[in-house]
C-alpha cells in the first residue's frame, strides 16, 4: 500500500506539490491527472525515492520515503517508467534489460528467464539482439516497460506510458497494463490521456500543485454534476413542464423536441416514480437514459475550479 500524508515539495519559492495526501491500496491502478507543471512527475519522483519531500511523509509497504535504508528497500520494490524511455541506443534490447536486472541484483538464471518472458509477451523476443537505435517509438516504449518489470517489482510507476504512441501501440500498452494489474501489481500512472485514465484507472487524483479531487472517475462525475435523466416521449404537451415542477424530487426541467431533460438526486429510486407518473398522464415513454459525463468534463470542471 502507498500512503502519503501532507506531502510537499518546494523548489525555492515554487510549490511543485503541496499538502498531498492519498492512499493507494494494493492491486489497484491509480491515475494522477493534471495539466503540465501540476506536480505529477514530482510526486512520482518523490514516491520513487528520487527526490526528497520538503514536508510531509510517504510510506510504501510500511517503509518511509526519505530514510536512506528504507529508500533502498523501496527502490527494490518499484519499477519506474520515466517520461522519456532513456534506453541505450547502441546496445541491444537484451543487454539493456540485462544491465538493469543486474543493478537490481537479479540472479543470472532469473534474469534470463524474466527477460525472455517479458520480450516474448511484448512480441520483441525475435528482436532481442538488435540495437535499440533501430527500434520504433512504440517498441522502445515496450522495452522501457520491460525494463521497469525486469526485477518483478510489486509497484509500477508509469509516467505518460502512451504519450506520443500511435493508437495501436497505445492500445497494446493499455492492455498490457491491465494484464499487470491482474497479476496483482499496484500501478501508479501519470497521464494527460483522460480517456485512457477513465478506461484503466480504478481511482484517479486530479492534481494542480495540490490534490484537487480523488476518487473513481464515475463517482467524481456524480459528485460534480447533477444526474440528468433524458426521457424520449412520442409527444410532449405544453403543460408538462409545469406539472413536473410540482414533483419535489425533480429539478432543472427542459425540453428539446420530443426529449425531456430533468435532474434527479437518486435516479435508481426516482426514475421508476417519474416513468409511472408519465404513464399515468397517458404519455408514451420511448427511451430513458442517464446523461453521461466524461472524465474530460470532470477534469475540466475541477481544473477550472482549482484556478
Amino acid at each position: 500500500m502507498i500512503v502519503t500524508e501532507g506531502l510537499s515539495k518546494h523548489f525555492g519559492t515554487i510549490k511543485a506539490i503541496d499538502d498531498f495526501t492519498i492512499e493507494i491500496p494494493d492491486g489497484k491502478i491509480f491515475g494522477l491527472l493534471g495539466p503540465n507543471g501540476a506536480g505529477k512527475t514530482t510526486t512520482m519522483r518523490i514516491l520513487a525515492c528520487l527526490i526528497k519531500p520538503t514536508n510531509g511523509r510517504a510510506f510504501i509497504d510500511g517503509y518511509e520515503i526519505g530514510k536512506e535504508n528504507d529508500n533502498q528497500s523501496i527502490r527494490a520494490m518499484i519499477g519506474l517508467l520515466p517520461e522519456v524511455p532513456g534506453l541505450y541506443e547502441t546496445l541491444s534490447a537484451y543487454k539493456n534489460l540485462d544491465y538493469y536486472a543486474q543493478l537490481y541484483d537479479v540472479t543470472k538464471s532469473k534474469r534470463e528467464e524474466n527477460i525472455k518472458n517479458l520480450l516474448t509477451n511484448l512480441d520483441l523476443w525475435e528482436r532481442r539482439n538488435d540495437p535499440i537505435g533501430e527500434f520504433s517509438k512504440g517498441m522502445k516504449q515496450k522495452i522501457a516497460i520491460a525494463r521497469a518489470l525486469v526485477h518483478e517489482p510489486k509497484y509500477l510507476f508509469l509516467d505518460e506510458p502512451t504519450a506520443a504512441l500511435d493508437p495501436e501501440a497505445s492500445k497494446m500498452i493499455r492492455n498490457y497494463i491491465l494484464d499487470l494489474k491482474s497479476q496483482g501489481r499496484t500501478i501508479l500512472i501519470n497521464t494527460h490521456n483522460l480517456s485512457e485514465a477513465e478506461r484503466i484507472c480504478d481511482t484517479i487524483a486530479i492534481v494542480k500543485n495540490r490534490l484537487v479531487k480523488v476518487g473513481n472517475p464515475k463517482e467524481l462525475a456524480h459528485k460534480l454534476f447533477a444526474r440528468t435523466i433524458n426521457i424520449t416521449l412520442d409527444f410532449i404537451p405544453n403543460s408538462l413542464i409545469n406539472d413536473l415542477s410540482a414533483l419535489d424530487y425533480v429539478s432543472n426541467i427542459r425540453v428539446e423536441g420530443n426529449k425531456l431533460f430533468l435532474n434527479v438526486k437518486a435516479p435508481e429510486e426516482d426514475n421508476p416514480k417519474i416513468i409511472s407518473w408519465l404513464i399515468k398522464k397517458g404519455l408514451n415513454v420511448q427511451y430513458v437514459s442517464e446523461e453521461e459525463y466524461s472524465l474530460e468534463d470532470v477534469y475540466l470542471k475541477l481544473i477550472e475550479e482549482a484556478k
Partner: protein
C-alpha cells in the same frame, strides 16, 4: 557502504557502449600509439645515434687492423679477447679487451680490463680500471683498485664507480627520457576528456540517468562506476603504450649503445603513482564539468582546461624548470592526490539524485 560489484556493472555497461563509439575507440587506440610509441621513437633514435658510435664490426686478425684505427678518427667496433698496449682509440666501441697504456677518446668501453690508461669523454661499463686517469666519463658497473683524475666526483669505499660526468650528448638522454615520461601522464589525463564526457553527458542527453537513479544503486556507486568506466580504458591504454614504448626504447638503446636504460625508478613511479592520480584528477574534473553542460562537444572543449595541472608539469619538464626525479614525481603525485580528494568530495556533493534530476538538465 560502496558495493564495487555494482559500480563495476555500471562501468561494464559504459565500456560496452564505448565499443560502438568510433571517436572513443579511435582515441583510445590512436593517442597512446602516437604519444606513447611513435613520438618516443622519433625523439630517441637520433639522440641514441648521436650518443654513441656505430659502425662495421671489424674482424680483428692482428695488430695491422688496429693500427689502421690508431691514427684515424674512424668509427669502429672492435671486439676481441686480445691484449693491446700503447694503443690509441678515438670514437670507437671497445669490448672484451685487456688494455695497457691506452688512450681512449670519445669511446664506449665495455667488459674490458684497463691499466695505466687515459680515458676521456667516454662511457665505461662493466670494466675494471687500474691506475688510470679518467675525465668527463660515465662509469657504470665498473670497479678498480686505484684511480686518479681531476674530474672524478664520487668514488665509494668498495671502489665501485657511478657516473662521474657525462658527455654532452649522453647528458641529453635522461632529459629525453623525462620528456617521454611526461607523455605517459598526458595520455591518461587527456583520454578521460573524451571518455568521461560520453559516459556522463551522453547519459544525460539520452535521459537514461533517471531509470538508473530509480534502482537500489547508491549515488556513490553510480559515481564510482562512472569514474571506473573512464579510468579503466584510460589507464589500460596508457599501460599498453608504456610497456610498448619502454620495450622499444630498450631495443633501440641496446642496438645502438649496447645497454637497456629502462625501467628506471622514475618510470615505475610515474606509471604507478603520477599517471593514475593525473587520470583521476581529469575524470573528477570532467564529472564536475558534465553537471553544467548538456553537450558532449562542450564537455570535451572545457575538458581541455581540466588537464592544465598536467600541462604545467609538461611545460616545466620541457623547459628544464622541473626535472623529474623520484622526489619530484612523488611530490607531484601527492599534489595531484590532494586535488583528487578535493574534487572527489565536491563531485560527491553534486552527484546526488535530486541535483541530477532537477539541476543537471
Amino acid at each position: 557502504m560502496l558495493r564495487w560489484k555494482r559500480a563495476w556493472i555500471i562501468a561494464k555497461k559504459d565500456l560496452a557502449e564505448f565499443k560502438k563509439q568510433k571517436l572513443v575507440i579511435g582515441s583510445i587506440i590512436a593517442m597512446p600509439l602516437v604519444l606513447g610509441v611513435a613520438l618516443p621513437l622519433i625523439m630517441f633514435v637520433p639522440i641514441a645515434t648521436m650518443a654513441g658510435p656505430i659502425g662495421t664490426v671489424w674482424d680483428i686478425q692482428g695488430l695491422i687492423e688496429i693500427d689502421k684505427c690508431t691514427n684515424k678518427d674512424c668509427f669502429a667496433e672492435i671486439n676481441t679477447n686480445q691484449t693491446f698496449e700503447n694503443i690509441y682509440f678515438n670514437s670507437t666501441t671497445v669490448q672484451n679487451m685487456y688494455l695497457k697504456n691506452a688512450h681512449l677518446q670519445d669511446c664506449v668501453i665495455m667488459f674490458c680490463i684497463i691499466e695505466n690508461s687515459t680515458i676521456n669523454n667516454s662511457t665505461v661499463q662493466n670494466c675494471s680500471i687500474y691506475y688510470s686517469q679518467i675525465e668527463n666519463t660515465i662509469l657504470q658497473f665498473s670497479e678498480g683498485t686505484e684511480l686518479y683524475g681531476k674530474e672524478i666526483i664520487a668514488v665509494n669505499s668498495s671502489l665501485t664507480f657511478t657516473k662521474v660526468k657525462e658527455s654532452e650528448t649522453a647528458m641529453l638522454i635522461p632529459f629525453i627520457l623525462n620528456y617521454i615520461l611526461v607523455l605517459f601522464v598526458i595520455i591518461p589525463a587527456t583520454l578521460p576528456t573524451i571518455i568521461a564526457s560520453y559516459s556522463i553527458v551522453g547519459e544525460k542527453n539520452n535521459r537514461s540517468l533517471e531509470p538508473i537513479l530509480a534502482t537500489p544503486t547508491t549515488d556513490g556507486e553510480i559515481l564510482a562506476g562512472k569514474i571506473l568506466s573512464s579510468f579503466v580504458p584510460s589507464m589500460g591504454s596508457t599501460l599498453i603504450a608504456f610497456v610498448s614504448g619502454a620495450v622499444l626504447i630498450d631495443v633501440v638503446f641496446f642496438y645502438l649503445l649496447g645497454y637497456m636504460p629502462l625501467p628506471t625508478l622514475n618510470w615505475i613511479l610515474v606509471i604507478t603513482l603520477l599517471a593514475p592520480t593525473a587520470s583521476l584528477m581529469s575524470i573528477l574534473a570532467l564529472v564536475l564539468v558534465s553537471s553544467k553542460v548538456t553537450d558532449v562537444r562542450a564537455a570535451q572543449q572545457i575538458g581541455g582546461f581540466v588537464i592544465m595541472p598536467v600541462i604545467i608539469l609538461m611545460l616545466g619538464v620541457i623547459s628544464g624548470f622541473i626535472f623529474l626525479s623520484p622526489f619530484t614525481i612523488i611530490l607531484f603525485s601527492v599534489f595531484y592526490s590532494i586535488i583528487d580528494l578535493g574534487l572527489f568530495y565536491f563531485a560527491k556533493s553534486i552527484f546526488n539524485r535530486e541535483d541530477i534530476l532537477t539541476k543537471w538538465a
